[in-house]
């Protein structure tokens, strides 16, 4: 129970709730887009560096490889399972179901960062290599989602552009790049830049989650394409995927923090890399649909309920 209370009274989560309340009350509070974008780049560079420095100390372990394989497998597989529920229970057509399913196979960087922050406060911080797992999980789901959406269609034009876009999208490059820099620099090289990338990190996360709360709640308020069934799936997916991820993490023998983090990654849905890729590859799909589900429903659910839940689950079965 500790982690639930710790989560709900931490300033990080309180700022998120403040943002949601402000948006629900239709306040005009807004963080300039350039700032929000800048903060998200900061968060990615910071966790990349931190992960790289940690791995430079711990070295490459079998755990790392196992977690990476598990993560990639989850990212590939989840869309197939989600697609079935989206077309069946959710009543979506093939293209929209494919587009939405890709979001759930992929991951949310901010959900992961918030979870790491909360877990670390509970002395169960995930291993440094989980940042690499995060980066690896971003893209496989896009391929699965596209295959589902394009099933039975003849390829009209080469998807070289998309593949490039997906593999070299900003967040993958920044996460992997700063992970590599952290590896090379190690703790000594990291020291002079820690005053920017480590010490104010939690505060920046507060500020960023204020914005995320605003954006998520506005998305929910203005959602028009949403149905009760889709909203239900937006909560069911993280519950199921998160449980699968946590169980898998325990089975492959990860430590409790990394197990919970794998659960959170599986539970989370992308709202940066995947929407842009889907808009490009499946222009006929309705962006209002997948953004409302991933950003409006699943993201807040995970931040407020999912994170403590998978932590508790990982502790219980770990």
């Amino acid at each position: 129970m500790d982690i639930v209370i710790a989560t709900l009274t931490s300033p990080v989560i309180l700022f998120f709730i403040l943002g949601m309340l402000a948006a629900f009350a239709r306040s005009d509070l807004a963080i300039p887009e350039a700032i929000a974008k800048g903060l998200s780049l900061y968060l990615m560079a910071a966790i990349g560096l931190k992960g790289g420095v940690a791995v430079s100390e711990s070295g490459f372990t079998p755990d790392l490889a196992l977690a990476a394989i598990a993560g990639v497998a989850l990212s590939f597989a989840i869309p197939y399972f989600a697609y079935a529920l989206l077309t069946g229970f959710g009543k979506l057509d093939r293209i929209n179901a494919g587009a939405v399913s890709a979001h759930y196979g992929s991951v949310s960087v901010v959900t992961f960062v918030t979870a790491s922050e909360i877990f670390t406060g509970q002395s169960m911080g995930p291993a440094g290599y989980m940042v690499a797992v995060l980066a690896l999980m971003e893209t496989p789901a896009i391929i699965s989602g596209l295959m589902l959406a394009r099933r039975g269609e003849k390829r009209e034009n080469g998807n070289g552009g998309l593949l490039h876009e997906v593999l070299l999208n900003a967040s993958v490059v920044l996460l992997m790049g700063s992970f590599a820099i952290g590896l090379v620099a190690g703790p000594v090289g990291f020291e002079p830049i820690a005053p920017l990338f480590q010490i104010p990190f939690t505060g920046v996360l507060c500020f960023f989650l204020l914005d995320m709360g605003l954006v998520a709640a506005r998305r929910l308020v203005e959602a028009r394409a949403m149905t009760v069934r889709l909203t239900t799936l937006g909560i069911l997916f993280p519950l199921i995927n998160g449980t699968i991820g946590t169980v898998l993490g325990t089975m492959i023998g990860l430590d409790v923090g990394s197990t919970a983090a794998l659960g959170v990654l599986a539970a989370s849905a992308s709202y940066i890399a995947v929407p842009a890729a889907m808009r490009m590859a499946l222009p006929e799909a309705d962006p209002g649909l997948y953004l409302s589900m991933s950003l409006g429903v699943t993201f807040p659910f995970n931040i407020i309920f999912g994170i403590p839940l998978f932590a508790a689950l990982a502790q219980a079965i770990g």
């Binding site: 203005e222 940066i272 953004l291």
Partner: protein
């Protein structure tokens, strides 16, 4: 007075991730010059949107090009089938330009 000739001004509102669609279509129609103008928010049959950079999937941009009538027609013809599927908003109007041979 300087001599001016009539050319077409084509304005296309397009989602940022799809901006390559009019750019490529213009290139195929022989139009090399264009400018992209930012748009900050809007409303239509699909509801409201506003620029947010968290998920840039719904951000829009105004593709603007000046071209000869012939090239403009080619561009409009090429994009017509995609107007609905890609939710493009396309308008064409007449403008006077000074150095007509450039377009």
């Amino acid at each position: 007075m300087v001599e001016t000739v009539t050319r077409k001004r084509i304005e296309i509102l397009v989602d940022k991730p799809l901006a390559q669609v009019p750019i490529r279509a213009a290139a195929d129609a022989g139009i090399a010059g264009y400018s992209l103008v930012p748009v900050q928010s809007g409303s239509g049959r699909h509801g409201n949107w506003r620029n947010d950079r968290i998920s840039g999937a719904e951000n829009k941009v105004l593709f603007l090009t000046i071209a000869s009538e012939e090239k403009a027609n080619a561009l409009v013809d090429a994009l017509a089938p995609k107007l609905d599927s890609h939710s493009l908003l396309l308008t064409v109007s007449d403008v006077q330009v000074v150095r007509g041979e450039r377009f």
